[in-house]
Every structure is written in structure tokens, then in C-alpha cells.
Symmetry: C2
């Protein structure tokens, strides 16, 4: 079975760990969001790709969900003494090595997809990890500060400002001109199932869908497309989905997110058991829906996520059989 | 008193520490060798400039003479796991930060001299540290390996090969086209004394002198030029001066090095007490010479170097008064 997953960072990575347990023989291609990518200290940092790579490769800091385990911060400390920032982005020494390798390869002319493949040679994530595009796409968030509107990089909105101010608009700068990375459209065309993990529907999955050709390819793939709600009980499980959903005029509810994707794209949708009241509304919108536990905070790594993946795949089969 | 010093790495840096003790009120400009510079992992590394900066700024690893104190090597470890080398160059985590800042500033368009000034803002070395040139100069060493001649970067010759093979030739690639960095010729023209510390006469001081205009400016400055022999008892105090001197056809002796610089450039020369037998020969070549202790391996940091600097400055005054 060939499965394509559109993934952001932590939510996508944890779901993928469960999916690998649930479907150990599946051929999984991950299309990773690169709209969160940022240049820091002259280095190219790809937070979502790295979170997937580190999580599936066994190098992730489990507690925080991003960055490397057994990490130290000497480089960052020194940069701060030089007065070179930003200080609000937590790059560890081990993590720096990844960005140094990536930047060096990009400077040598390799596209991001080839660089990602090379990095995965080490991590052996057990999935094929593709960036959504080799072209630069950078999600910016419009915010009002002291009565003035300004655009900040998504990482600045999320990490520095901690999404403490409202997002007035979310713009994936460069997306319109971007082309899907090599292999992306082919993977979608050859997929048996396409999954949207509980990643941010605006700045993660939404950014991937904003690359011309990807949304269309999914809609026309003719295979079940099943998503999992990142909103549980009217609040994001983690992150700032509520803020960026508001910016695009979508309620922060499991039902509204399903309707935002729409029945033209989505065939099935999983909501958490606390949201079981909205199953009918979603089904009325033409999307098959089930209410199951969607929290991935189990002590045994991947167990809850694996069960979620099993239910998602079962729902996909149900869609296929209908 | 305005003093100009042409410095390489460890020997130059340690002498400078002594000079600052010997002449605390002097206005010292250091013209640093950049022929050892190398690009590693996509980052610009300037070993000699950094050794001077770290030594005078209190951040040097005293035992090894280069690199940072209290250093860790996580980034390098990770790069090795990625299979990215070279592994033979010991870049520590704290040191990486310097190269990251430098590379980022260079990429932003600042010349090396401005970058060095910015880095020194932090280190406050108590001297004005100028790279010999903002242009790229890279010292290559021709070696015969398995019967074939090939050119290797100086760092590869010294750090990887540990100078275990003979140097057939030493070429400061790019030197002929290089221009002295802003301030270099001005500092020489305004100097009261010019000193050559016990740095390598070929790959350190020699490379600086290979930048068109610098040798001429020193010869024409009309002020005492005094050097200290890096060769003690027919062997270099440290490093591979013997190997690179052989490549340029110069004997590895205190006298031969003085004659290599020549009386057209050099007015005074200090040799170690073990070499007092050559004083007459050097004076016969038109260079005032004194034999004094030249080992800088004293337990009290800088004390021996300070005494060497005092004697060098005294010899300069003797030259001036002659």
C-alpha cells in the first residue's frame, strides 16, 4: 500500500510514527511543509522537515517535540555574546550541524529535495521525505503592533511572539510561483491513500496545498483522502491553529476545519471523542466522519498515534468500498 | 609609540601578549596573516586572526595555543555522523560561532577587515587587528605523494599531513592580485617601530610580505624593523618552519632566516642564547643582532614574551639612535 502524508511539524511527525507502526509494510511518502523554513545566522533551517526526520529517525527531543535529544547550546551562547541574534530561536549544537550540512549542499547547487534525501541517508526515517517544493516559500503573518500592521516571518510570530497577538492574515510568500518538488505529484498520482495528519490546517497542510498543482493532484487522484482534526474540543491540541484559522475566517472547531478543506478534497475526517456531536454535521457536508481519541500524549511512544492511524486507514477503506 | 606587528598564529599571538605588557601605552596595529584561511563546511575560517583575537581577548585554549578554552565538539561530532568532513580540522562549538558570524557578515557584503573589527568588538584584544588583505589569498603547498606532485591547502599540509612529507614549494595563491586591507599601508607609514614576531618566516610573515605594497612600505617606512627568530638551535620552536624554509631554499637556522629577510628589510634581529654563535655573522650581513632567551613557555603567562618584547624595542631604539 502506498500512502502519501502531508505533514507539518510535531503533530505530523508523531502521527507518522504511529502510521509506521500501524502499517509497517506500507510505502510511505511524506510531503513536508517548507513554509516554516527560515534563514538564521546565514544557515537554512527547515524546522518541519527536521522534526519529521529527527522524530522518525530516533533523534528527537521527546519532551519538547522538536530539536535534538542530548542537546547543548554552546554555539548559540557564543552567538549571543557576539550580539548576533535572533536569540528567540532555540538552535542546539547538534541541530546546527544539520543546518550547516544543508546550507553547504544548497550552496553547492543541490536542490532541497536532494539535500533532504542526503540528510535522511543518515536518519533512515523509514519514509520517503520530500519537501513540498525546492523553491523558496516563506509563510508570513500580518500582525498589528502599536497600531501599525507589519508582516513577520511565521517563526517570529510563533516562536518570538508566541502567537500572543492576533494574526490578521497569513501569506505563504512565494507559493504561487513555486513548483512541487520532484516526486511530489508522482507520489500523489500513485498513492492508494492520502492522509492529512493533525497538522496545522493553515500554516502546515494549507501551505503545502498552496503550491500550485498539489491540491489539484490530490483532488484528482481518485483515492481516499482522510484527515485527522488538529482541533479537539474547540482548541488546538498544541500550537496556534486557532489564531491562524481566525486569520483565514475559519472557526476553531473540528467541523469548521473539515469544511475548510471541503468535500472536494476530503473524503473522511476523524474528530476526537469530545467532538462526537459534530459527526452528523460533517457527514452532512459530504465527508465521512468518526469520533475517536485523538490525543497523542501516551506514555508508550506511538501507541495512541498508531491506533489513530489504524482508524484513519480503516475509514479510507470504507470510503474506497462505498 | 605606534608599533606595527606582522603576525601569524600562536607565536605571533603569544609575542603580542608580551608586547602589550612591555609597552602598555603603545598603539599597536597587528597585520594578520590570512593565507592560512580556509573554507570548511561552507564557513570562512581565519585561524591566524582568530588565534591573535582569542589569545589577546582571553579566550584561547592555553595548552594547545589555538581554539577556544572550555570547548566542546558536538557540531563536529554530528558532522562526522553525517559523513561530512574534513574530520582532521578541530573546530569546536564555541569556535564555530565565530566562523558563523564571520561567514554571515561576509555574505552580507562586509569586507574581512570590517568583519574582523566587528568580532574584535567582543574580544577587545587591546590592539588594532587588521587582516593583511580583504582579498582571498590561500597558501598552497606542493607535495609529492606516491610519486605524484600535488598541491594541498596549507592547513591540509600542516594539520592533516602534520608536515610529514617535504614541502616542494609554497605558493600564496592570489597574493599577487591582492591589495593590502584598508589601514595596512597607513599603519606602516605612521609606525615608529615595526616588529616581526617569532612567526613562520615563509607561511606567516612571508605571506604578508607577498601582498604587493606591504614589503615596499616596510622597507621605505624609515623606522626600525626588528624581528625575533622562530628558529632556536636549528629547529623551529613549534610548527613546520624547517619544512617550508627548505621549500624556499633557506636553511633552518636563525642566521639564514635573518638573511632571508635581508638587511634591506630588517634592521635588527634577536636570536636565542643557544644561537649566540651566529650574532657576528648576522651583524656582518648588516643586521644588528642580540642573543637573548626566546622561549615563550613560561608558567606565568606573557612574562618571557614581555622580556623578549622589551629587548626588541630596546634594539629598535638602538637602531634609531645609530
Amino acid at each position: 500500500m502506498r500512502i502519501v502524508v502531508l505533514a507539518g511539524g510535531i503533530g505530523g511527525a508523531r502521527f507518522l510514527r504511529g502510521l509506521k507502526l500501524a502499517a509497517p509494510d506500507a510505502d510511505i511518502t511524506v510531503i513536508g511543509n517548507t513554509g516554516d523554513d527560515i534563514h538564521l545566522f546565514g544557515l537554512k533551517v527547515c524546522p518541519d522537515l527536521d522534526t519529521v526526520m529527527y522524530t522518525l529517525g530516533g533523534g528527537i527531543n521527546e519532551e519538547q517535540g522538536w530539536g535534538r535529544t542530548d542537546e547543548t547550546f554552546k554555539v548559540k551562547e557564543e552567538l549571543a555574546v557576539y550580539g548576533v541574534g535572533p536569540e528567540w530561536f532555540g538552535l542546539g549544537d547538534r541541530d546546527f550541524a544539520t543546518h550547516i550540512v544543508r546550507t553547504q549542499m544548497l550552496a553547492a547547487g543541490f536542490p532541497l529535495s536532494a539535500v533532504t534525501e542526503a540528510l535522511c541517508e543518515r536518519w533512515q526515517p523509514g519514509v520517503r521525505l520530500l519537501p513540498m517544493s525546492d523553491d523558496r516559500v516563506e509563510t508570513h503573518v500580518a500582525v498589528d503592533v502599536d497600531g501599525e500592521r507589519k508582516a513577520v516571518h511565521f517563526q517570529e510570530y510563533w516562536v518570538r511572539l508566541r502567537a500572543s497577538v492576533d494574526a490578521q492574515a497569513v501569506v505563504p510568500v512565494g507559493a504561487e510561483q513555486a513548483k512541487p518538488a520532484p516526486g511530489v505529484l508522482e507520489a500523489i498520482a500513485e498513492a492508494d491513500v492520502i492522509l492529512f495528519p493533525p497538522s496545522n490546517p493553515v500554516v502546515s497542510v494549507g501551505t503545502i496545498l498552496a503550491v500550485p498543482g498539489i491540491r489539484e493532484a490530490i483532488a484528482e487522484a481518485g483515492v481516499p483522502v482522510v484527515g485527522l482534526s488538529p482541533i479537539v474540543g474547540d482548541a488546538p491540541v498544541r500550537g496556534m491553529a486557532d489564531k491562524v484559522l481566525a486569520a483565514v475566517g475559519v472557526e476553531s472547531t473540528a467541523a469548521a476545519v473539515a469544511e475548510h478543506y471541503g468535500s472536494g478534497l476530503l473524503d473522511g475526517w476523524l474528530v476526537d471523542t469530545v467532538d462526537k456531536g459534530v459527526v452528523e454535521r460533517i457527514e452532512a457536508a459530504g465527508i465521512r466522519c468518526r469520533a475517536v481519541p485523538l490525543m497523542m500524549t501516551d506514555p508508550e511512544v506511538g501507541t495512541a498515534a498508531a491506533e489513530m492511524a489504524r482508524v484513519a486507514l480503516a475509514l479510507a477503506e470504507e470510503v474506497r468500498g462505498a
